[in-house]
Symmetry: C2
Subunit: 222 residues, 2 copies
């Protein structure tokens, strides 16, 4: 079932796209990476994801799978013989899905606001973002990974925010290490995996990218 | 794995709660239904879903599962021996998940706006809602169910909007039958299943409920 051509339509710093990259690397799946110009999307992207026209899209033997968490499920189900991502017990699976959904609904929104706002709006976003990170740190507890003893679905879903931490810290003028030391220790543990370190974008490039967005929005003299 | 006590914390007309009810009925699972007063949430609800404090929550042997689509996955995985909801092939599973997510992101939002706005805002919501329904009708195609020959995950995810159609039609002054005849035929087909007809709320009561919300928001002389 896992044979055939695999193409990933992606954008270099997308935390959603990086999830697919980490999962593909964990499973040892060879694929073609195709960088999208989000200002001028390719005909292939609009054809493969006509509803949302968003990356990432995983194209397996010509058939598209969209939405990063759905892509993770797909990868885990098709290439099920190696490195399982979702826990085996339905209850633990439900909890991994719940927290991944929480990351998409909350962390993603607050992080975006933190990076693209100023003044009171940014202060509110910073507070929400830090609260959210603390909740996620609490959920990790004393476990080495969210997947317990092994790196799994929720680890993949969250670790792709790690290269964005520098930009969040600079935008909000705070230290993630001070706010969530256990979460940082977890992230460093994940980074020891080649599947992670080779799949994530450079934090400094992401920081520059965020600066460009801020400069365009607020001018260069902020 | 499927033994033990099952409790559903719910609210009578929630399309999300009704999903859990339909799935439990499809599987023939006995459970305690507990109606929540959303203006005065029970300590059990805030304890079982401390993050969102929202219904539905499925409590199985004391452990909570939150978020309706995650609950559907859980029910399907724990009670896997009968009436499978998700398709067996990973690609078809990914498509069912994609459209269920589309319903939650788009249809749910547009339907809510249609029921709770006036004037230009409502006209825009009506257009978005109808466009969305047409996309979903297109996805059904000529199949009897979204699950193909059998009633499945995506059928459960969408059919719980059916008892809301009357309120949407009255709010927007249009006929769903004229706009999406094939979708209405599908809904009637689903309603022939006892698991559906016995789990869904009364459309007239939902219409009255929406009228009360509109009266509270806009006054009774709108």
């Amino acid at each position: 079932m896992g044979d055939g051509e695999v193409i990933l339509l992606d954008f270099w710093c997308s935390m959603f796209g990086m999830r697919a990259r980490v999962a593909l690397a964990e499973k040892g799946i060879k694929y073609q990476y195709r960088e999208e110009d989000l200002g001028n999307k390719s005909p292939l992207l609009t054809q493969m994801n006509p509803v949302h026209k968003k990356i990432p899209v995983l194209i397996h033997n010509g058939r598209p799978v969209c939405e990063s968490l759905i892509i993770l499920h797909y990868i885990d189900e098709v290439w099920s013989h190696t490195s399982p991502l979702l826990p085996s017990h339905p209850y633990h699976r439900s909890q991994a899905r719940f927290w991944a959904s929480y990351i998409d609904d909350k962390l993603s929104e607050y992080g975006h606001k933190l990076n693209t706002s100023k003044g009171e709006e940014q202060e509110a976003a910073k507070k929400d973002f830090i609260d959210c990170m603390k909740v996620l740190e609490g959920e990790l507890g004393e476990k080495p990974y969210y997947g317990g003893e092994s790196f799994g679905f929720l680890d993949v879903a969250l670790i792709t925010f790690y290269p964005w931490f520098l930009a969040y810290e600079k935008s909000g003028n705070f230290s993630m290490e001070c706010v969530c030391p256990k979460l940082i220790a977890w992230a460093k543990r994940c980074m020891q995996r080649e599947s992670v370190s080779k799949s994530l974008a450079d934090p400094y490039k992401i920081y520059e990218f965020v600066q460009q967005i801020r400069n365009t929005k607020f001018g260069t003299d902020e």
